[in-house]
Symmetry: D2
Subunit: 362 residues, 4 copies
Amino acid sequence: MTPRTSPLGVVVVGYGYWGPNIVRNVMERPELELIALCERDPAQVRRFEARTPGVPSSDDFDALLADPRVDAVCIATPPRTHYALARKALEAGKHVLVEKPLATAVEDAEALVDLAERKELVLMPGHTFLYSPPVNKIHDLITSGELGEIYFVTSSRMNLGLYQADGVVCDLAPHDLSILLYWLDRRVASVSAAGCTVFDPDVAETAFLTLRFEDGPSANVQVSWLAPRKVRQMIIVGSRKMVQYDDTMPDGAVRIYDRGLDMEVVQEPANFGEHRLTYRSGDIVAPRIDAAEPLSLELADFANSILTGARPRSHSRLGLEIVRVLAAAEASLAGSGEPVVISREGTLVSKAAPLGPDTRAA
Amino acid sequence: MTPRTSPLGVVVVGYGYWGPNIVRNVMERPELELIALCERDPAQVRRFEARTPGVPSSDDFDALLADPRVDAVCIATPPRTHYALARKALEAGKHVLVEKPLATAVEDAEALVDLAERKELVLMPGHTFLYSPPVNKIHDLITSGELGEIYFVTSSRMNLGLYQADGVVCDLAPHDLSILLYWLDRRVASVSAAGCTVFDPDVAETAFLTLRFEDGPSANVQVSWLAPRKVRQMIIVGSRKMVQYDDTMPDGAVRIYDRGLDMEVVQEPANFGEHRLTYRSGDIVAPRIDAAEPLSLELADFANSILTGARPRSHSRLGLEIVRVLAAAEASLAGSGEPVVISREGTLVSKAAPLGPDTRAA
Amino acid sequence: MTPRTSPLGVVVVGYGYWGPNIVRNVMERPELELIALCERDPAQVRRFEARTPGVPSSDDFDALLADPRVDAVCIATPPRTHYALARKALEAGKHVLVEKPLATAVEDAEALVDLAERKELVLMPGHTFLYSPPVNKIHDLITSGELGEIYFVTSSRMNLGLYQADGVVCDLAPHDLSILLYWLDRRVASVSAAGCTVFDPDVAETAFLTLRFEDGPSANVQVSWLAPRKVRQMIIVGSRKMVQYDDTMPDGAVRIYDRGLDMEVVQEPANFGEHRLTYRSGDIVAPRIDAAEPLSLELADFANSILTGARPRSHSRLGLEIVRVLAAAEASLAGSGEPVVISREGTLVSKAAPLGPDTRAA
Amino acid sequence: MTPRTSPLGVVVVGYGYWGPNIVRNVMERPELELIALCERDPAQVRRFEARTPGVPSSDDFDALLADPRVDAVCIATPPRTHYALARKALEAGKHVLVEKPLATAVEDAEALVDLAERKELVLMPGHTFLYSPPVNKIHDLITSGELGEIYFVTSSRMNLGLYQADGVVCDLAPHDLSILLYWLDRRVASVSAAGCTVFDPDVAETAFLTLRFEDGPSANVQVSWLAPRKVRQMIIVGSRKMVQYDDTMPDGAVRIYDRGLDMEVVQEPANFGEHRLTYRSGDIVAPRIDAAEPLSLELADFANSILTGARPRSHSRLGLEIVRVLAAAEASLAGSGEPVVISREGTLVSKAAPLGPDTRAA
C-alpha cells in the first residue's frame, strides 16, 4: 500500500455502552475521520447529536457501506449481530474492527476470518485489553523472563452486570482469554466450566472456568454479573516472581512480588520427617506505568494495519481462537462440567464424544 | 454426666506451628488444666519450657495416656499422624480434639468416628474457623434469611505456604469446606478439581475446586501455597444481599452489600430486543463483630461437650464429610479434572467408574 | 424574570485544565448553549476544534462580551486573572461563573460582589465540591443531627501538583474551605498556618492550616503539591458518629462509623485513680450515593439562578468569605505562624497588629 | 564492666495495658530473668499468675528494690507516676527502663537524667518505635541520602483511645516525636498546637501540632483519642523520594515513591506566563522488612547498655528533649496556639513572654 495523506474514513455502528468511546477516540485520532454514526435507536441518536454537532448519523447501514469515503467500519453492537454486520462490511470491501467476541459461533468466526483473508482486508476483534498499559507491562515481565516459568494464573472479573442473552461467559470471559493468550502465547488444551443460573436456566450469570494451556500453565477464571463489588483481579505466579494485576487499586494496578519458594530438604523434628519449601523474601514493586487510553492505541493499531498491512496485535486468528475456547467452555457448561479438549486443529472433544459446532449452548 | 468442680486435665501433642496456640489457650481457659506437653523434638521442648516454666513435657505418649489425671488429648501433629494418635487416645478412654483434617483417608476417619461413638467419647476435629466471629456473623446472616437464597460462593486462600507431604488440598481446603458446610448446611453433591504441581509431581501446591451442593449453590475454591500475597477472601452471593469476607481487611472482615439484581423485561432499542437486569443499589455495611479468639471458643466447646454430652459445633461427622470431599477432590485431581459425585451414602463415583478408597492420591 | 424557552448563551473563557470539562458539560446541559470559546493559546484552540467541530473560538473577549446572544460567561483561567475578567463581564451585563477562588485579594473579591449585587447579576464562584454527591451526603448527616455535635475535622489534600504562582494555599485550600463552611455553616474565627517552601521562597508548596470556627469546632488542613501519592481524605468527628470521606477509595467515598466514646468515672486500680471513656462500638456503613457529575449540577444551579433569581449554593458571599480566610492564612504564613483572627466584619487581626489587605503575600 | 554469665534480674512494675508485653518479652530474652512483678491491683495479679505460674508478684516496691538479685526495673505505670518510681529505683542503684514519657514535667525529667548520670546507671525511656523495623528502614533511607533533603513530614495517630488525665499530647505525641527526632536528627526549634476538648476542658483529646525543626523541615502531627478508625500514617517528603509509613496496611507498612517534582520554566500559553514543576515518575516499592518484635529489641538494647555501658538508641537525653517539646506544645495549647520557641538551652519562649517550667498545663 502507498502512504496516504488524508485520514481514513470511518463509520461507527452502534452508540450503546461502548460506541460513544469509539466515536470520541476516532474523532481525536489524526489518522481517522468519523464519516457517520450508524444507529437505529432515536434516543441514542439524540445523545450522539448533542455531543457531536456536525457529524451525521444514519440507520441505513447499506447506504453507508456504499459511500466511497468510508474505508473502515467499527462495530459496537451486541455479540449476536457481529457476524452479519461484519460479513456485510467485508463484502463491501471495508476494513472491520468488531467488538469482542468476533462472533458467537465457531463456524461464523471461521467464515469471517476466511472472508477477510480472501479479500485482503483487516478484520480486527476489539480485544481492548491487549492495548492496556498494565497488561503490556506484565506481558513484558513474562516475555523477558523476569517472572520465570509461569505456573498458574487466577482471574476474577465480577460486578453487577448488564444481563445479555449471550451469557456471562460470552460477555466477560473474552477479556480474560485475550489477556491469557497474549501473555502465555500458547494454545488452550482444555477447558472445564461450571456455572450458576438464576434468572434464566439457559443463561449462566456466573461461571468458573479452569483452563489448561499446552506445556503446563493452568488458569482459573471466575466471571459473574451477580457480584455486588467490582472485582478485576488477576494473579500470575511464576517461578521467580509473582504479579498481581488489579485495575481497581488506587495506587498502581500492577504489583510485582519478588518473593517465592524454593524446595529444600530440611532435617525435620525426629518424630516426622518432612520436606520444606524455603521462602525467598523480597520487595513488592508497583512499577511506573505510563497512562494511555487503550482504545486510542487500539484504533492506532487498526489504522496502522490498514495502512501498512502489518498484523494488528489483536488479530483475527486470536479472535477465532477465543471463540473456540468460549465454545468449549459452553459445551462443558452445558454438560456436567467435564473437561473439553481443544485439538490442535480446533475441534472440540469431550470425554464422552466429539463435539460438533452444533453442541454449543446457543 | 455430673457437674465437676476441678478442671479437665489436658495433654497437648505437638508444639510446632499450632501447638503453642493450643497450649496458651488451654492455660487461660478455667475449664481446662494443662497436665503436660507431648513432644519429641528437643528444640520445641526448649521453646515450650522457656515460655511455660512449671509444666512438664514428655515424649512418651503411652505413659501420658496412662495418667488418670488426663481426661483429654489435643493433637496438633501433621495430618498423616492423626489417625494413629487419635485412635490410641480414644482406646485409652480419652476425649480427643484433633487438628484438621480428622484423617487423611476416608476409612480411617470412619473408623475414628465409629470408635468414638462406641466408647461415648468426644471426637472433635479442630475446624477452628467455625468459632471465628466473622464466620458466625455470616452464618447468622444466611440462616436468618437476610441474604436470601444463596447462589454461589467463591473462596481464595493463598499465601506462601509451608510445603507438606499431604498436599495443599489437604492443608488448606479443609478451612473452606468446613466454612461452606457450616454456612450452607447441605451436603456436597460433586467436586471437580484441577491442580498445578511444581516441586513434586505427586503433590499439588495449587488447586482449583468447583463444588456443587445439593439443591443448588455452587462454589469455586482456589487454594495455593505459591502465592506471594496472603489472600483470604470469600464472596457469598445471595438473592437479597451479598457478603465479602476478607480476614486481611484492616477495617472489618465482613462487608454486607445491600445491592443486587432484579430481572426485568425492558423495551430495548428497536434494532435488538433484550432483557435487562435492574440494579438494586444500597449501602455497604461492615457490621460490628466482637473480637474473640476462635481457638479459645473452640476449647470451650470441647470442654462443654465433654462435660454435658452436647454435640460440639465442629463435630466428628462434619469432620468425616470433609475428609470425603477431600478424597473426591483428590480423585478428580488424580484423574483429568472430571466431576466426582459423592452419593448420599458417602461413596465416590467418577464418570468413568466407582472410586474405591484406594484411588486417593496418597 | 419570565420563563424563557431558548437556552442561555454561554462563553467559556480558558481551555486549560478545567475549561474542557466546562465546555463538555455546557454542551450536554439543555438549559445552556455554548456560543463560543475564548482562548488565546493556538494549541488549546486546536484541541478544542478537534473535539467540538462547529463551535467557534475567539481570542477577543471584548467582542464576545458585545455579542447579545451571550447571557453568561464561565471563567476558567488562572486565579490572578479572575478579577479583571469577571469585572469586565459583569460591566458588560453578563452573569458570571468564575473558577475558585473568586479573586486573589480581599478587596477585589469585595468589589466583584458589590458590582454583581448592584447590577443584579449572578456572580457564582465555582466551588464544585458543593455539588459533589458525597459532600452533600455528609452535609445531610450533619444538618440532620445524625453525627451529633461536630468536634473537629481533619483534611489532607495532597498530590504532585502543578506549580502555580499563587501558591498551594490559593490552589488547594479553597476546596477544603468551601466544604468546611458548607458543612459547619458558621464562620471561621481564626486561622494559623505554617508552610514549607522548596522551589521559590515566596510560594509555599505545602501548608498546614489550623482553623477555629465560631462556637467550637476546629479543623486541621494539610495541603501540598509535593506528595507522591494522591491523598483526598477528610475525617469528621462528631459526638454521635464519625465520618471518613476519601475520594480515592474504590468502594465508596463515605464511611460512617457508628462508634464513639462516652465519659465514665471508673473505679480504677487502687494505686492510681483514673477516669475512663467507654467505647460505643457499632457498624461501619458506606451509604449508597447516587453518581452524578458535580460540574453538571453546578451549571444547572448557575442556570437556575440566572432564570429564577434564587441564590446558588455556591454563592458570591461564600466565595468572598473563602478569599478572606485565604488572606488570613497567608498572613499567618508570612508571619511566624501565629493565629490571625477574622472579625465578624471581615477584618484580619494578628497578635501583633491589625492586618490591612496589603499584608497578603501576593 | 566485666562480662557476666548469669542473666540480669528484672522487676516489672505495672501489669496494665503494656506490662504483660514487657513480662512476656523479659521471659523470652536470654539476657534477662524476671525476678518478680510489682502490682497492687489484685485482678491484674490474678491475670499474671494464670499466665506465668512460678513467678512471684508483690505490691511492696521498696522490698523489691532491696533485693540484691534485682539489677533493673521496668516501669509500665501511668505517666504521672514515672518520676517518683524511677527516682526511687535509681536511688536504690537499679537501672531503669521507664515507659514514655520519661516524666510529665521538664524539671522532673532533668532531675532523673542528672541522677542517672551521677550514679552511672542506665535510664532508658521506652520509646519502642525506635526499635520498630519499618521505622529503622526509613531511618536508613534518610541517613543514606536516598530520600534527599527532607522537606516535611505529616503524621496522623488517631483511634478511639483510653482517656488519661495527662491528655492526648502526653499519651500519643511521644511516639511521633521520638520517631521524628530519630529520623531527622536535629532539634525542634518551635512548636505550635491547637486542641479540642470535649469531655474535660483541661484535657485535650485531640491536638494538631506544627513543629519546625532546626535547618528546615517542618512537621504536622494530628493526635486524637476520638477517631473511630485507627489511623497510623506518616508521610515523609524528600527532594529525591517520598515515603509513606502506615502500620495498618496489610501489604507492607513502608512504601517508597520514586516520584517527585523538578522546577522548570515552561513557555506557557501566550495569555498568562507561568512556571511549572515537572514530574519525575517512577516505581512504588514496598521494601522487604524483616519481622521482629520491637519490644524484644528494646529490651536487648537495655540489657546491652547495662552490660557494656553503650548508650541505648532510646537514651535519656532523647527522652528529656521529648518532654521539653511536649511542654512547649502544651504551653501553646494553653495559650492561643501561638508558636513556642525552644532555645538551644532548652528554655521555652512564647511570642508574649518567656515560659517558665510552671507554665505547663499540668
